[in-house]
Amino acid sequence: MRIQGLLMAIPTIFFSFLLLYLVIWNLYFSFTNWSLLNPHPSFVGFQTYASLLYMEYFSISLSHSILLSVGTVVFGNLLGLLFASLLYFLGNEKMRSIYLSLLIYPLSISMAANSLIWLWLFNIHIGINWLLRLLHLPVPLWLSSPSTEFPSLMVVVIWAYAGLSLIFYLAAFMGVDKSLIEAARIDRANPLRILFRVLLPNSMNGFIVSSALLFLFSFRIFSPPYLLSGGPTNIFLQTSVVYMYYLFTTEYFAQASAVATIITAIATAVVIPYALYGIKRWMKHE
């Protein structure tokens, strides 16, 4: 039995070690001064990290990443919750699957394709603005103005990931004992009251897992900020991951490794305990 268990764990152990090896390899280079100017790297301790702190780009891109993640967690959860409630109270089973497929469709499209689609939609002449102009509504400049550029990026990311949140909320709602809902109906509770007093308080697992994944996915996102900004150098849309890529392409290898290490550390610190807690709760619940 023990041997069987050990055999089953071999793939997991192998890939865990591979991942760990890459992380440590990356960590090692973040402590060197390897760059185009220093082709023969030497160990410099925290000097590379210190140099990053003096770079304006680093703090700007990190604040973009954090803002994007927080925005996605907040609005992704709200949208997911809204859609999940609408689908839950939809009586028709067939319509529910149709709407569900439509709402989670963005998840199945590659992020690069998503970004290209939105690039056209944000075009000030033909996209959304064409429709707004027809309706005689004010037309924002979307990606063409520094003030609306970042909110436009958030719209794309939230649109793409709201479906993820929806799935977890809907799964959690479906897991709530049906007789609780029936009891609430018999007790004359309206759908809103059922949602906020019965469904939601008993769906905390859905909230935990959805928030953890939304944070993880939006914090490490690359394609939308890269494609919507037209390249890694647009300071208004640069996130930490894009900045890391920019440092790498310009052959600041040590600095790129240092940014990667910081991203990994933040993601690990925020997400792993959260996700583990959520999954554990969910499994205990079953």
Binding site: S179, L180, E182, A183, I186, D187, R188
Partner: protein, 359 residues
């Protein structure tokens, strides 16, 4: 109070190619203030019937009336569940796990927009009656099964419902507290005179709570009567089996000395006149006796000599299985107050007039 009348209620569940008839033309008139029991094996449609009364399911055909007001008809919900003023206790209690017992009981009142004082008064009143006043601040998971059930009952009663529905209300309780729970429900029903419908597969629930009962088998309502009347004269062998323990035998009808007997191997059971040649016999366990005596008085009729095959014990009585000497497979269970040695021959008696005969 409300009387419930079902006219030709039929419920058909359609899946891809299959049609399942859950209820087949059920007609019933449950009187106002009556405690009515619905007995049936699991999957017979009794819970579907209760859900239709609650408005949680819609009948495929038929009409349902509360006090002559149509509440549901073929594929149409005329009055939705929230407007039927129903108190329901679910099989799993369905207590809201995120609320204290107090908030659980207050939940139906908050939909009524009642003042806080009035709410507190009514909750205190009902929890006093049900003996849960001291656990109102606890969450359901902190309560025992019996307390949870009483909280569920309090939640159903606090809004003064016109109908109380109990779905297998005791099946999740420990056997030792079931009887006190049954007594409590019966007492409250008696005091409040609410029309109460109890669904159960356990005849003990029906006997202890219901004034009248209906038996649903395979979606059909086959018998409606007092529980004791169903027990003593069930219409089919299934009904007999549902409402109590039964020894079942196949017998051949014979006539001698102007008396009719059903012969089972070496045993002869006195029965009333029947048209068939072969009959199915059902005998309640308390209507059989074994003894070393040759006669047990006029009330008991000698059936034949029997051999003790197994002797075991069950709740205060010895459970002895006897067989006729010529056939080891015709087993008859008898409850007696002392053990009998295996292999011994004894006399088997049956209470006169108590042999149930089914075609």
């Amino acid at each position: 109070m409300v009387n419930v009348m079902a006219k030709g209620i039929t419920k058909i569940y359609k899946s891809r190619r299959k049609e399942v008839v859950a209820l087949d033309n059920v007609n019933i008139d449950i009187h106002s203030g009556e405690s009515f029991g619905i007995l049936g094996p699991s999957g017979a449609g009794k819970t579907t019937f209760m859900r239709i009364i609650a408005g949680l399911d819609i009948p495929t055909q038929g009409e349902l009336y509360f006090n002559d007001e149509l509440v549901a008809t073929s594929n149409k919900l005329v009055v939705p569940p929230e407007d039927r003023n129903i108190g329901m206790v679910f099989q799993t209690w369905a207590l809201y796990p995120n609320m204290t017992a107090y908030d659980n009981i207050a939940f139906p009142l908050r939909s009524l927009r009642m003042s806080k004082d009035e709410e507190r008064k009514r909750i205190n009143e009902v929890s006093e009656i049900l003996g849960i006043a001291h656990v109102l601040n606890h969450y359901p998971r902190e309560l025992s099964g019996g307390q949870q059930q009483r909280v569920a009952l309090a939640r159903a009663l606090v809004k003064n419902p016109s109908i109380l529905l109990l779905d297998e209300p005791f099946s999740n309780l420990d056997a030792r507290i079931r009887d006190s729970a049954r007594a409590l429900v019966r007492r409250i029903q008696n005091e409040l005179k609410i029309t109460t419908i109890t669904v159960s597969h356990d005849p003990a629930d029906i006997f202890s709570i219901a004034e009248r009962a209906g038996v649903i088998v395979h979606g059909k309502l086959v018998q409606v009567d007092k529980p004791s009347a169903i027990y003593s004269s069930p219409v089919t062998v299934e009904v007999a089996r549902l409402i109590g323990d039964l020894v079942e035998l196949n017998g051949r009808v014979e006539e001698s000395n102007n008396k009719i007997y059903a012969v089972v191997d070496d045993f002869t059971f006195p029965i009333n006149k029947v048209a068939a040649n072969n009959v199915r016999l059902g005998i309640r366990l308390e209507d059989l006796k074994i003894s070393d005596e040759v006669s047990l008085g006029d009330e008991w009729v000698f059936v034949g000599r029997a051999r003790v095959k197994v002797s075991s014990y069950s709740s205060g009585l010895f459970r002895v299985t006897v067989v006729p000497p010529s056939n080891d497979n015709t087993e008859i269970v008898v409850m007696v107050d002392r053990p009998f040695d295996v292999g011994r021959e004894v006399n088997l008696f049956v209470k006169s007039g108590k042999v149930l005969v089914f075609p």
